[in-house]
Symmetry: C2
Subunit: 345 residues, 2 copies
DNA sequence: CTGAAAGCGCTAACAC
DNA sequence: GTGTTAGCGCTTTCAG
């Protein structure tokens, strides 16, 4: 049961009685090998289970077929869903994934992360970290100097960086509009932490939609949570004190909405009759909350897949010597999923 | 704004007016460089932001400081939590992560995955896939022939493979014992899919604990779910029909337990008075279910971290020429978190 | 202390 | 069609 050591192309060549070059040609499907030689060599390769070293190839070919992925908060489901889309699509396209996770969402010093990816010759980099605080400062300054293409999975600081992201503002609008359509008029908002860009955008969607409807969203109609169910509980209680006439609430994510439903349940507050609730994210469980939660759905797997495709497209067009034509961003549109928590009609 | 191309050691050497060896020595902190030379070279390296190619190093040093990680089901929170622990610890120890995700939990043909990792010269491999069906067949046959060490994050097919896993059987026992201690006597079980090893082990913990208490767990006291909240709803309804006198249920994960609580809520079934409920996993949300869920906690981040440390230990002891002493497995112990859903006393 | 030569495993460019 | 030579960026070995 001796662990088998790695075979080299030289050993295979020796066994096949040809030069290493011929092995290389067979491996790469080059045309200039006689059919008999090709077949014989291929057979030996198969028998030995020989696999050429991608490391050596990377060195000489100046491409590694590897993408660097920078993520954060894998213990939450959102980042993992995106990563799921990324791995699936990358595998499909023949690229490997070198993964880095930031210790915190708002890690400032990201230079070592990039250097470590570049030292391993990644062909491109995906920045799959939400914009929080100033965690994109380094990016906006340094990204033009990166030797490989970069695609963000969040709206970028620099408008000319390629990115793939959902329209959070629109998400806030459709959620709020839906509550208006259901006849609610005193619509509060339980936002995410406002140092998150997405939280601000969702909030603004709520605000603008109310204004457009001639209603006046005041500061005390809104409370800031921290995305957790616990904060949702606390925030709803505060919101009800500040805004007792509130008849509906747009909650910036499903986890906090779960806390909201919880409080309502404990206090015997009828949902959706007394309080309409709309969440955001469409977690798998949100259909099993009580009552089932109306929410704004984003397909994060698709976002990850789309970003991989965009990145690979840029990588390969660069390789073909095409000029660095500016890539248009991809904006994805969230979708309202209507369930009982907002159905008053 | 020209993207900067990669610098080579040769260019740095030229600028510093020394040979590439000297640069290499400075980079690797070798003693045999004069202090002045070292300082001058270091300064130039810093100014240029030069980063040596890990790819070239891997080739010559026969080590890449990269771990291969094979996972599955990243769209679920469990695998992501484990991955979170893995990335954290690997980063800390100076290893990079090459990530592969199986398309399904029970993917049979995993050979290409391993070959692809080996082609990239990973120093070791983590198998972070739960045992489902026969998805470990290839492993049990081929793992002894792997040229690099392997650590599993699930109880292995071969008892002599190193692994790090929670004791699911014990988890089933403590959950059931707790319900007995609370005075429940007719304790049903809502299991996970029984082609999952962990589901079988949790079930057996339940069974044996009841037997030890002189109770007789019958086949109709148990229903199989598929881990989802939806299946939890359906399964509980079936279980109540099959086993009307049931006064408590041990549910094999928190998601299904959420479905159980849901049904109870709809049907006005009092929890914990009429039905005690214990879950498994201790999801962050389970404290916010209604009523808050008693559950069996596993710290999956710790599991990931422990596995990384074990793997690195094996890698480095191999490098030091130490003999392949058989590594003892690491068994982690789950912990009962008592909340209201099971507190009848 | 420093440099020159060799080579990690592979492929591009050129011979034959 | 096939082999030879050179070299990707780095480190090791051995001279000086």
């Amino acid at each position: 049961m001796q662990p088998s050591k790695r075979l080299t192309i030289k050993q295979v060549a020796q066994l096949a009685g040809v030069s290493t070059q011929t092995i290389s040609r067979v491996l790469n499907g080059r045309p200039d090998v006689s059919p008999e030689t090709r077949q014989r060599v291929q057979q030996i390769i198969d028998e030995l289970g020989y696999q050429p070293s991608e490391v050596a190839r990377s060195l000489i070919q100046q491409r590694s077929c590897t993408l660097g992925v920078i993520t954060a908060g894998l213990k939450y489901i959102g980042p993992s869903m995106i990563l799921n889309g990324i791995t699936t699509e990358a595998e499909d396209k023949g690229y490997a994934i070198l993964l880095k996770e930031l210790p915190k969402f708002d890690t400032g010093d990201v230079e070592p992360i990039f250097l470590s990816l570049l030292a391993r010759h990644v062909d491109g980099i995906l920045w799959a970290v939400p914009q929080v605080g100033d965690n994109q400062d380094w990016l906006s300054q340094q990204s033009p100097r990166l030797p490989v293409p970069l695609v963000l999975l969040t709206a970028p600081p620099h408008p000319d960086l390629p990115y793939v992201d959902y329209d959070n503002y629109q998400g806030g609008r459709i959620a709020t509009q839906h509550l208006l359509d259901q006849g609610y008029r005193a619509i509060g908002h339980l936002s995410g932490p406002l140092d998150w860009l997405s939280a601000r955008q969702r909030k603004e969607g709520w605000q603008d939609t109310l204004r457009d409807a001639g209603l006046n969203p005041a500061p005390h109609h809104r409370v800031e949570g921290n995305w957790s169910a616990a904060s949702g509980e606390r925030a709803l209680q505060r919101l009800m004190e500040q805004y007792p006439e509130m008849d509906a609430v747009f909650v910036a994510n499903d986890q906090m909405a779960m806390g909201v439903l919880q409080v309502a349940c404990k206090q015997g507050l009828q949902i959706p009759q007394r309080l309409g609730v709309v969440g955001f994210d469409n977690l798998a469980e949100s259909a099993y909350y009580w009552p089932p939660l109306t929410t704004v759905a984003q397909d994060l797997r698709t976002q990850g897949q789309t970003a991989v495709n965009l990145l690979i497209e840029i990588i390969e067009s660069n390789r073909n010597g095409a000029p660095q034509r500016p890539t248009s961003p991809v904006v994805l549109h969230p979708q309202l999923i209507v369930r009982e928590s907002s159905l008053r009609l």
